[in-house]
Symmetry: C2
Amino acid sequence: MEVRTTGGAAAVAKDTRPTLHQALEQWTEALGASNVLLDRQNLQAAETATFATSQTVPAILRPTNREELQSCMRIANRFRIAVYPISSGKNWGYGSRVPSQDASVLIDLSRMNRILDFHEKLAYVTVEPGVSQAQLFQFLQDHQSALWMDATGSSPDCSLIGNVMERGFGHTPYGDHFAQVCGFEVVLPTGEIAQTGFSRFSDARTGPVYRWGVGPSLEGLFSQSNLGIVTRMTIWLMPAPEHFEAFFFQCNRHDQLGPLVEALRPLRLHGILRSTVHVANDYKVLAGIQQYPWQETDGQTPLQPELMSQLRQRLKFGAWSGSGGLYGTRGQVAEARRAVRKALKDKVDRLQFLDDHRLAFASRFAKLYQFMTGWDLSKTLDLARPVYGLMKGIPTRQPLASAYWRKKNPPPSNMDPDRDGCGLLWCAPVVPMEGEHATTVADLAGQIMLEYGFEPSISMTLITERAVACVISICYDRQIPGQDDQAMACYRHLQRELTERGYYPYRLGIQGMSELSGCDGQGQLVRAIKSALDPNGVLAPGRYDAQ
Amino acid sequence: MEVRTTGGAAAVAKDTRPTLHQALEQWTEALGASNVLLDRQNLQAAETATFATSQTVPAILRPTNREELQSCMRIANRFRIAVYPISSGKNWGYGSRVPSQDASVLIDLSRMNRILDFHEKLAYVTVEPGVSQAQLFQFLQDHQSALWMDATGSSPDCSLIGNVMERGFGHTPYGDHFAQVCGFEVVLPTGEIAQTGFSRFSDARTGPVYRWGVGPSLEGLFSQSNLGIVTRMTIWLMPAPEHFEAFFFQCNRHDQLGPLVEALRPLRLHGILRSTVHVANDYKVLAGIQQYPWQETDGQTPLQPELMSQLRQRLKFGAWSGSGGLYGTRGQVAEARRAVRKALKDKVDRLQFLDDHRLAFASRFAKLYQFMTGWDLSKTLDLARPVYGLMKGIPTRQPLASAYWRKKNPPPSNMDPDRDGCGLLWCAPVVPMEGEHATTVADLAGQIMLEYGFEPSISMTLITERAVACVISICYDRQIPGQDDQAMACYRHLQRELTERGYYPYRLGIQGMSELSGCDGQGQLVRAIKSALDPNGVLAPGRYDAQ
């Protein structure tokens, strides 16, 4: 076993080999030998992301409950070994399972996967970090619940808590995940326990129903940080509406993005659109439909705008394509439909509304429908169905396939981008919800990425009433020599140009955390808190740039 | 000047007189003599709340900008003098301006009252702590803005930031104040500066539009705490809806509360009611209409349920009266009106909808209207108008008059409950939004308060989709000997019984903070953070029980 250290956390011993050996003995005693993984295959898999990394993982610990996790942390402190917790490790594009600092022992929480509480009337569920999207979805089905979860478009296997802690988002009115949770139980770096909100009082009846509690509100401290490990969380669920309807639209020209955002903002601000609206450019849509068009391009990359334009016309999708959901009583949905139609008139070239009934109908009569409406349904429906489902909180595996965009073989049934050498780097700037800012980011990404030889695959999510989260994917084939470096150079260039214009990311992968370094007052404050809570600096050093 | 110390903060010097003298010299140099108040009249006023307190205030500092405030904190640290910041000091019922620990120097932020930024399209305003509700309301009027603020029902003069930091609430869809803010600038206890969210980057364009930023989210740390002084905050505003309509309802019997809450919950959870719904019992409503009925009771207190029942019938209001707002397009409001009507059928004895048009009409034709509908409009309209306004974000002075409930003289035009010897203690438990819990609290408060000789004046606000914030007022006349003690004993008894049943408060006054003491894991965590950020323990020791 190779063990290296970087200079990051001064508190972590320089030569960890002898102490690591002792720590492993104690961890094995605490968890049992089968839950301390040391074999090369598992470690190598854990050291592999969707881009080049050099961090090694000397061991993987798999606690099964909070008490075992506490023991893990106490032992880590005793020997000053850095540890890095993951929930399900599906953080693709941001680092997968790879720790932010070299030689960190991985703590895999996926065995802590109990659903601890569920309340149909008050619409919440309380879960451990190993609970996946698919697991909760199945649980709600099994209980014939009238509640909908919110799902992120990553993978059914990704952890609910993991996504919340990274402040991910979904597609229903509960799409801003971090705003819809409360009552955390946290294992602190020292192994002690804390609870947030009213859950701090063991006899409180309001732990799962009210976020702020009494006294300071501490949930935010544990998101995108290395200040504690969340072992329990209440997630609010939405009651299924009386009626649901989705709308899909497309713009034929790229320069329609600005006016489109301007038209959508009032709908979001006025609460006519209560959920995130998702807008994707042509490259993004194409990657959702198929792999790279190797034939049409004679194997050349990147896919140039001219050919992209031809493909768009052939496959009948727009320069920008978008979708959103309407939730409520039949009357409310009808009213929202009228408002959307009015706002998007002259802003989009196509606008289509879809509900369960029409979707079933269209699926049966796709050809006839196309003849009647001119709307090419077969391809559209294939793409629309998972997006439509996401707006109802149904997890889907479909978007993951786009990680195989530049591969020569089709995605396997058991997709694993880390294992399969898929190259993926995500860059996720936030912009104010104004046409001008959205256009600037789209233009900038388009220009820089083509220069570096990658397709500018962009989605823009109207994540709140005032902000748009852009997700720019740098997608490539890791098996082609030089591509790892080229992609990382592209990422750094893009990230720098974006922040120079004031567009900071909503989230960072391990590839970008050090770039936030020391440029502000918050950094100092966070470091002071980090020292107080983690005196030995053992928990995820380097994560979001806090040592 | 009398200076005493309690044993609270060990770090604060025991005999502060010599050091206080030196500190005052430096504060005077920093702020100018006119902004260091030492006269008995001002100090005595600042030492006076709406209940008995023993804390003395040796001086009041009035910085005019962030730099002066930073100097104040550096000097406080130099001499280890405890300081206690207030925004406008209108924290009636929770301690007014009185510090949580004796001998704390008051820092009055009311001169920092600039509106720093305003964006009509993205619907936000950025303010300093001295900006009051009335000031923002006037500002929006002056700018002919189509945006509505949310107002709390306390006083037009109360500070926006002060209320947010205590996690107060209002009556529009932006009623959960702490959820509608971002981009804090904070002066830390040491005098250093930190910003939260994207505001940490001076060139970010998204500071005022997206809350979470990147890295840990720290806003919660500074609410209901003593970890920093917020000197700038962005508050989101709602665009005026196309149509607004209020509904008012009443239940004749007390036991209708449970079914009422059960009927309202689905409306909140389904987003048909997007704002807080406010339900008040008969005692609360009466205190809003008039002072204590000294004549009918022959000067006896408390007002017994039997007489209350007679007054209710005479004045035509219910055992429970409630109100809520409907916001949206005309079609959305009409749809919500239908849903409310359907849900409250058989649950309430009266239900009335009111919009601007009908309110103007009713005001002109009150008598005729009463004849036609049987609804007693004159009294109702007097009570309804300010409540109606609050649902549109218009601050009102009216609810403050109820602090004079037990006084023998009518409220003066320049009401000041501290100065006028109004006794007021607020007890604010949160319960899950279920009929059973709301009923338990109402019954318990009714029983305990009458035993102690006070009227159980109760409001229940459906503050979020899942929680009800109850506000129970202990209202008395401080000028009657013995009443201060009696009221405090009642408060303690009530608070204890409530927390024993799992109903913890959403907010605490200085009278109740020590009761949270050391019963949980969060306390320890907060103390560790407090030590890290405030090594000399100078900022508001004892506030929310953190030393």
